[in-house]
Symmetry: C2
Subunit: 224 residues, 2 copies
């Protein structure tokens, strides 16, 4: 192993360590974590952190990408077996379970964006993994003839949906694309509502209520 790769290796380890500490700080400070505090926890000068991340926003972007990839992997992992309806519900629960285990990272990726923060291109690909997984399940079910497309959509929205189908899950009827997106949006909304305290002093049986919502969504899509 050459010296250069040793350097690179140490650098990658340091980078990971910074991210790990920053993730911990996410819990107390949210998106406005203190880079100086992170550096203090690492026993290094704050200026040294800038060797690894060009700015605090860059560090946050790295955390965002990791979070998207983590929840995306959890969603994909959960959808490996079972019938189409089961796979859909499994993805929903996998996303919720991940969010419960990583609350502050969920807030980072699905909470209100910081004004002025522009998500770089690199975040797009990891960000779409969950919805792509849902779309794939719906497409599989549609191709298997298990679900009906439902009433057609007209106008420019339909054209847009056809473009999306073409780019991501060829062969899916546009209505099904719309239904997949709607289900994904409801899923994210339900998880955010639970995590951001909208259900406080109202619903304690969170899992049951979540399941109720996602089953209804499954029915709307057409899963039996």
């Amino acid at each position: 192993m050459t010296a250069a790769s040793i350097r690179a290796r140490v650098r990658a380890e340091m980078t990971d360590e910074i991210k790990a500490v920053a993730r911990r700080h996410l819990a107390t400070d949210g998106a406005n974590l203190s880079l100086r505090a992170v550096a203090r926890d690492l026993g290094m000068a704050s200026s040294a952190v800038y060797r690894y991340f060009a700015s605090r926003d860059d560090l946050l972007t790295a955390l965002i990408i990791d979070a998207y990839d983590s929840v995306g992997a959890a969603a994909e992992e959960s959808a490996r077996t079972g019938g189409h309806g089961e796979r859909f519900l499994a993805v929903c629960h996998a996303v919720r379970d991940w969010a419960l285990a990583n609350r502050h990272e969920w807030a980072l990726i699905y909470g209100s964006p910081v004004p002025g923060y522009q998500a770089p291109r690199d975040t797009v690909e990891p960000a779409v993994r969950v919805i792509l997984q849902i779309g794939a399940i719906v497409r599989d079910a549609a191709l298997a003839g298990e679900i009906e497309p439902g009433a057609p959509i007209t106008g420019r929205l339909n054209e847009e949906l056809e473009v999306i189908a073409e780019q991501t899950a060829a062969g899916t009827p546009p209505q099904m694309v719309a239904r997949s997106l709607a289900a994904w949006i409801h899923l994210c909304g339900a998880v955010s509502a639970e995590l951001f305290g909208q259900l406080n002093n109202t619903i304690d049986e969170r899992r049951e209520f979540f399941e109720f919502q996602m089953r209804a969504e499954a029915k709307t899509i057409g899963f039996r």
Copy 2:
């Protein structure tokens, strides 16, 4: 008019002016707006602002309460006429329209909460106006026999739903309470998804897609 009330009047005007300027700053800085910058815009020392708000969090809380009241009033206003299904859709669009016109205030109330920020009691009552409005419409429709309760819910979730029905919209079947809550959550999720950029480069026909989602939700509730 006594002097005391003159003082109070001037004080209230000053308070409103601070909130107005702070609302403007919300657009650029989001929840971590700068109290000093607000004071500068007002041409006063930053320490003077503390005569009106005990802390920056207090100022934010005031903005949050105003925002909840504003969107709540918009929802209530929109639900004055029409059939039950139309009223439901009107509320959905009223909320979305309000959010589009007041993006940063939406982010303030429905975005990720700042860790450490504990919402005071005063925020609860304004916060529930929208869901109460939806619940009232659903209850009216149920009492009018326009919608079917649907499959019963069992267990502790059902008990919770009964308590909620009792406290907020007596006479509503528990399933309908659950359906109302689910619709409200989907509504908030759809608006947040649109505002927080989840639909970027995907759906441009936002209003049509939103309507598609809310119509599906109306159908799930049972509106004809």
